[in-house]
Symmetry: C2
Subunit: 230 residues, 2 copies
DNA sequence: CTGCATACCGGGAAAAACACCGGATTATTT
DNA sequence: AAATAATCCGGTGTTTTTCCCGGTATGCAG
C-alpha cells in the first residue's frame, strides 16, 4: 500500500454459517481496495475464540442467524469485550425486529444479503469510519420503534410456555386442561395472558408467534410440499 | 484458452434470491478455469424468461427456496423445456425431502451452501459432464427413500393454497372470505377439503402443517425469544 | 403488613370454527 | 356425450374459542 493518502488496510472478519457464502464474500471484499479479510468463522462462538486468541479486526460482517451463537449475542459480546470492533450486520431477514435488535446490540449498520455490491462497499466505508450505515429499511424500522416502550421480549412463566406447546397441537383447550391437570378456566387464563403479552388476537396468531420465535420446534421441518394444481 | 484439451468454457447461470450471494458465487466461479457466469436471476420465473429470450447456459446453480418460483419448479420446467441445461441444486437445507425432490425434478447434483469451494468445483466438473454429483448426504437420502411408498403429497388447487396463506393469519374465516371475494361457505369448503387432504382436524393443525411444509413462509424465522421465568 | 406476581378457579354469553346435508356453473378431458 | 375437476354457494346445528364478570391461595420482597 502506498504511504500517502491514509493508506491503511482495514481488516475484516466474516461470520456466517455458510462457508460458500463466506468465500464468495471474501472474494467480493478482496476486490474493494482498502479492505482485507483477516478471518472467518461459522458462528459467534468460534469467532470469539479467535478474538480471545489475539485477533482484532477493524470490522466484522456478522450474520444474524447462526447456530451455536447468533449475531445478536455476538454483537453484544463484542461491545462489552472489544468495543473497537465495528459490527455490520448482514442478513437475509429484513424484518424490523431483527434490525432493531442488532442495532441495540451494537451493530453500526444492517445490510441485506440481496443488496447491491455497491451498497456493501458504501456500508463498509461508512461503518469503518465509525458512522452508522442507514438504508431506508433501517430508518423506517427505527422510526417505527422510537416512542415505543423499547419492546422487551415478554417474560413467560413456566406454565405459559407449557401451554403454548400444547396450543400448537390440535388439542382443544379442554384437552389441554386435562393434559396440564388444571381446569378449562385456567388454560383460558393462560390464553388471555399470552394474547396480551404477545399481542396476538387468536390461537392461530399465538401459534405463528410461537413458531416464529422458536418457542416450539416443529421437529422435522421437511415434509414434502404438496403439488401445485393439476 | 488453448485449442487443445477440449478448451471450451462452460456457461453457468446463478439463480438465487440473494444478490450478494450471487455476486460472491460469481467471483468464486470466475476463479475456476473453464467456467464463466453468463447470467443471474433472483428467482425461477426471471430465469425462465431469460431462457425463453434465447439464453442457454450449460449449467445452472439453482437455489431451492426462492420466492415467486422455487428450485423444484424451475428444475422441472428446465427438464421439460431445455433438457440440455444441467442443474446443480445449491441450498442451505440438508434435509432429505428437499434433496429427493430436487433430484426427482431433474437436478444432477445437490450441494450445500456451507460446502468447501473445492466441493463446488468438483460438483461443477461432475455435473457439466452429465454425471451425478453425489455427496454422502445425497446417497443417504436416496437410500432412505427407496422402498418407501413414495407418499405423494396431496395436490392442492390454487384457491386452496391461497386460502392456506390467509388461514395462517389472525383473520377469521369471514374476513378471509371477504379478502378472497367469495362467501363464507366457500372458504368453509376449502377448509373441509384441506382438513381431509392434509389429515388435520383443526385450523391450528392446518397452520402447523403449512409452516412445516413451507406452504407459507413466516418471514424472519428467528425472532427474539421471550425471556424465561423471572 | 402490604403489595405484587404466580397459579388457580367458576359461570355466562357472543363469536368463531367445525360438521354435515344439499346444490350449482364452468372448463377440460376422454 | 360423458366424465372429471375446479370453482362456487345455502342452510342447520354442534363444539370450541374468545371475552367478559367475579373469586381464592401461595410465596416472596419491600
Amino acid at each position: 500500500m502506498t504511504a500517502q493518502q491514509e493508506a491503511r488496510e482495514y481488516k475484516i472478519c466474516l461470520i456466517d454459517d455458510h462457508k460458500l457464502f463466506r468465500k464468495g464474500m471474501a472474494q467480493l471484499i478482496g476486490r474493494i481496495p482498502g479492505y482485507k479479510v483477516c478471518g472467518e468463522a461459522g458462528n459467534g462462538r468460534d469467532f470469539i475464540e479467535m478474538v480471545q486468541a489475539g485477533l482484532t479486526p477493524d470490522l466484522v460482517l456478522l450474520d444474524v442467524q447462526m447456530p451455536v451463537m447468533n449475531g445478536e449475542e455476538t454483537a453484544s459480546w463484542l461491545r462489552q469485550h472489544a468495543p473497537s470492533v465495528r459490527v455490520l450486520a448482514l442478513t437475509m431477514h429484513d424484518d424490523e425486529m431483527h434490525i432493531i435488535r442488532m442495532i441495540r446490540a451494537g451493530a453500526r449498520g444492517y445490510i441485506l444479503k440481496d443488496a447491491e455490491p455497491e451498497d456493501l462497499r458504501t456500508a463498509l466505508d461508512t461503518v469503518v469510519q465509525g458512522d452508522f450505515y442507514h438504508t431506508p429499511q433501517v430508518s423506517r424500522a427505527m422510526a417505527n420503534t422510537i416512542g415505543l416502550p423499547a419492546e422487551e421480549p415478554p417474560a413467560l412463566t413456566r406454565r405459559e410456555r407449557e401451554f403454548i406447546e400444547h396450543a400448537c397441537t390440535e388439542l382443544t383447550y379442554k384437552e389441554i386442561a386435562d393434559v396440564m391437570n388444571c381446569s378449562l378456566r385456567t388454560v383460558d387464563g393462560y390464553r388471555e395472558e399470552l394474547f396480551e403479552k404477545l399481542a396476538v388476537r387468536s390461537r392461530v396468531g399465538l401459534v405463528v408467534y410461537a413458531i416464529r420465535h422458536e418457542l416450539v420446534q416443529l421437529g422435522g421441518q421437511g415434509g414434502t410440499r404438496p403439488a401445485q394444481d393439476r
